[in-house]
Symmetry: C2
Subunit: 346 residues, 2 copies
DNA sequence: CTGAAAGCGCTTACAG
DNA sequence: CTGAAAGCGCTTACAG
């Protein structure tokens, strides 16, 4: 059993066909300017005729870099692949890398064996840097890669004590803005349906909600946490109503939960937004599809992707051992669930 | 600007520390049996102490293979990343590759520039084979890779005239089974909501439906095609009802469309399954969440992934130039939307 | 601008 | 079982 003679045409063959040295041929492919137009043309013609494709493994080895960046999705349940914001994140990463001529390489390890293999792969010269998504607090990969000298950037905030680069969306600010928006609409009995308490985004969003209420001198103990699903939202909404009958607004920490709240309210015959305003979080495709359409906090996922890519690129370029970070603000997408449409005067 | 001295510890260093030659050290990592236990232990100890990680770029270059397989998702809209069956497919691929000690490397090219870079990457010795997902008829990547001698396997049937390996789910059989199931439940006026006609799965599923009706000597012109969404299903259902008031069963080519049909029927006060039975396609998470739960045709996505991996592995091992194919049968997941629950006698 | 040469870190016949 | 040596396909100072 022998390896296929796959990459039949090598740089050497191209150089010979073009009548130049291997060094010169190499220079035209690496974009070095030190080549005469004549030589360049000859090499390019020869390459085209022979169908030359550089062997990137050889190039990585010789040059000490690979012109590619790894994106690792640390998500044992593959949930990321159903998260509507995930493609937007990938798109941002891909666009930024692409504009620098870099290749994006993605990984989704599922088992311990996968992770070990992956670590060796990433540490083994196949990528210039690594972007890490969806890691939980027990994940050791970031530190292990970093200790090997590989530039690493996290999506989300690292756990305490970890000195590592990251890009993070300010959940606190997003929640505060959402709540302020409700207050500005004249709402006064504003409830919050929080994410499961073990997520740190739950604490951040709750905190933002409380701060906005505090600033407006409103009471703020109308909080229930729930599973991030429509059902979770329904149950939380029901519990909230037993605590306060005349809630006039709800800020939910996810669109799915907001929809659950909406269903409960509508089943009770309350009009949205007339009787109760509802705002969600994530601005997922769901939000635009409800009746009435759901206002939501939009996380700048494309921007987050772009920034992650920028950070890792500047780390590889600077060859620094310092860490970088960037915090992005969410925006508000206001739809009819929080604001009565103003009739357009003729 | 110089490359980081990243992979500080090389095979050479390990060999020296272990007091053996580089060749022997290499043999313990490649799993060659030709090594004494003593030497093996010494090398493993040295590697652990020094924190050695093999440089895989070098290994790929020297060995002529990479122990990794590329998975390319050719989906300009990133839609795959929101498709509930997509993670199952990846899981199948990952599990099979993993069990053979192979690394799975994923790509999602978005632009022409991405595709060119990707082709060079894949052809450049970084992967041993390629799995292609979601390609449309104009895609040239499969042929281009194959012509470079790289083992390629498609998920889905290749367009006519393309001699290439593939794994494919038999849509025709799935549709036929679903329709037969409805007939066995005593239904006689069975409508079909088809996928958009430009998809070839639409034709396959329609054909399966027709065949089942034909075999049972039933009429079969109750067909409407629609967008693959709940709204599409609603509109198609409404159109069908204008053509035949007393439809007693619906076979929809996707779960989302089936749900649309369900909503329309329920809004009209018809009981499911008593008055009308409904079955979908894909057995997505949606199906289990409806009221009543939706019967559906389940595509064996994990199996498809596993088979794709198996095929590409056997192609790399056999080093053959022939092509392989495998066709898988869907199964039926029967829930309450098509069969009245039989009360359990005490 | 160009070429000869060394070297990137590994694997693998080949000869013991 | 082991080692010396050649070689994988490229890049890049170095010296013209």
């Amino acid at each position: 059993m022998e390896a296929v003679s796959r990459s039949a045409v090598t740089l050497d063959a191209v150089a010979r066909a073009a009548g130049v040295s291997r060094a010169t041929a190499s220079r035209v492919f690496t974009g070095s300017s030190q080549v005469s137009d004549e030589a360049k043309r000859a090499v390019e013609r020869a390459a085209a005729e022979l169908g030359y494709v550089p062997n990137r493994a050889a190039r990585s080895l010789a040059a000490g870099r690979s012109e590619s960046v790894g994106v690792v999705v640390l998500d044992p349940g593959w949930n990321a692949f159903q998260d509507p914001s995930f493609p937007r994140l990938l798109q941002g990463i891909g666009a930024e890398l692409s504009s620098h001529g870099l290749q994006m390489v993605m990984f989704a390890p599922q088992s311990g064996a996968d992770s070990i293999r992956l670590e060796q792969y990433l540490a083994g010269g196949h990528v210039d840097g690594v972007l890490l998504l969806r890691l939980d607090d027990h994940e050791v990969l970031p530190e292990r890669l970093q200790s090997r000298g590989i530039p690493v950037v996290l999506g989300g905030r690292p756990r305490n004590g970890l000195d590592i680069s990251f890009v993070h969306v300010d959940n606190h600010a997003g929640a505060k803005n959402a709540t302020q928006h409700l207050i500005e609409q004249g709402r006064r009995r504003i409830a919050h349906i929080g994410a499961p308490q073990l997520l740190d985004l739950a604490a951040d969003r709750l905190q933002g909600y409380r701060e906005a209420l505090w600033n407006a001198a409103l009471r703020c103990d109308l909080v229930e946490h729930a599973e991030q699903s429509r059902e979770g939202g329904e149950m939380a909404m029901a519990r909230l109503l037993t605590r306060c009958e005349d809630i006039d607004a709800v800020f939910a920490a996810s669109d799915a939960m907001a929809i659950g709240a909406m269903w409960v309210m509508q089943a009770l015959g309350r009009r949205i937004p007339d009787d109760v305003a509802i705002i969600g979080f994530d601005d997922s495709p769901l939000a635009a599809a409800t009746q009435p359409p759901l206002s939501s906090v939009r996380q700048p996922m494309e921007d987050m992707g772009r920034e992650m890519a920028r950070l890792v690129l500047s780390m590889t370029a600077l060859n620094t051992h310092g860490t970088l970070q960037k915090i992005l603000d969410p925006t508000l997408t206001v739809r009819e669930s929080t604001s009565r449409p103003v009739p357009v005067p003729l």
